[in-house]
Symmetry: C2
Subunit: 155 residues, 2 copies
């Protein structure tokens, strides 16, 4: 399934103690996304998401020092409660971004009432994958996934 992009890909998976529709809701409703999308002590200053193919997404992360980092993107594929695909290659439909860095495929699979959450980050280059790994992908996305699980478990 992922052989073609194996060396350009990073994967994170978690079994979450909430059903897929709740994990999906927490992944797509801005007020919920704000609660987990940045690894604490970073926060989300702003989250806007037009959840449909071609819809724009803008999440602005804020560092503990107050510096803001905007993360614009576009949804490519939306299958409610099942699957989300988005990329930073566009800032809107279909404005090329300054730098196409990655495409993220998120799947929400039912496992006996829990959710197998899997996020695959596909990069255009091996260098970008390596840089992302060194930036702390596993730790950062892992922490966010744990925060997401907590949000999904309480809604």
């Amino acid at each position: 399934m992922t052989n073609e992009t194996g060396d350009r890909e990073l994967v994170l998976t978690r079994l979450m103690d909430a059903p897929p529709d709740k994990v999906y809701r927490a992944s797509t409703e801005p007020e919920l996304v704000k609660q987990w999308f940045a690894p604490a002590p970073w926060t989300i200053a702003r989250a806007e998401m037009d959840v449909r193919p071609g819809g724009a997404s803008l999440v602005v992360m804020r560092s503990p020092e107050g510096n803001e980092m905007p993360c614009p993107g576009v949804f490519l594929e939306v299958v409610p409660n099942r699957r989300l695909v988005f990329t930073d290659a566009y800032t809107g439909a279909w404005q090329p971004s300054a730098k196409p860095f990655m495409t993220v495929i998120v799947t929400f699979e039912d496992e006996g009432g829990k959710t197998r959450y899997t996020a695959r980050a596909l990069h255009w280059t091996v260098d970008d994958r390596e840089a992302h790994e060194k930036m702390g992908f596993h730790q950062g996305w892992g922490q966010c996934a744990d925060q997401l699980a907590a949000v999904a478990a309480r809604i």
Copy 2:
């Protein structure tokens, strides 16, 4: 509409003597696409198109000397008889290509029974836009558009 990407964009437009549904058909049915998608004396050796968002497209051009140039891509947006968006940033849903070069937005507008055909090529960098222009975008795509108009007029 295009200010944001003006210096990364190339545009071609033609008024074609066929209605939008025929120009659209000639743009999406492989057997018709083969008749115009390469500027003669280049030909199309192979055309496969899964015309839906996330669907893959593979067109292989053949030079007069017999050299083949594969052009893989993916459709991002499909509005029958109105609008097609595709990119070479992916080779399938959602495998990053070796080099995201451009996204093409094609619109088919009715003008009194004829079709205003507009193809906008949006590049990720100014360098790529310039390279595309030097490769002969206006002449090459212009010739293909004339060939497309001829196919659409006779189907």
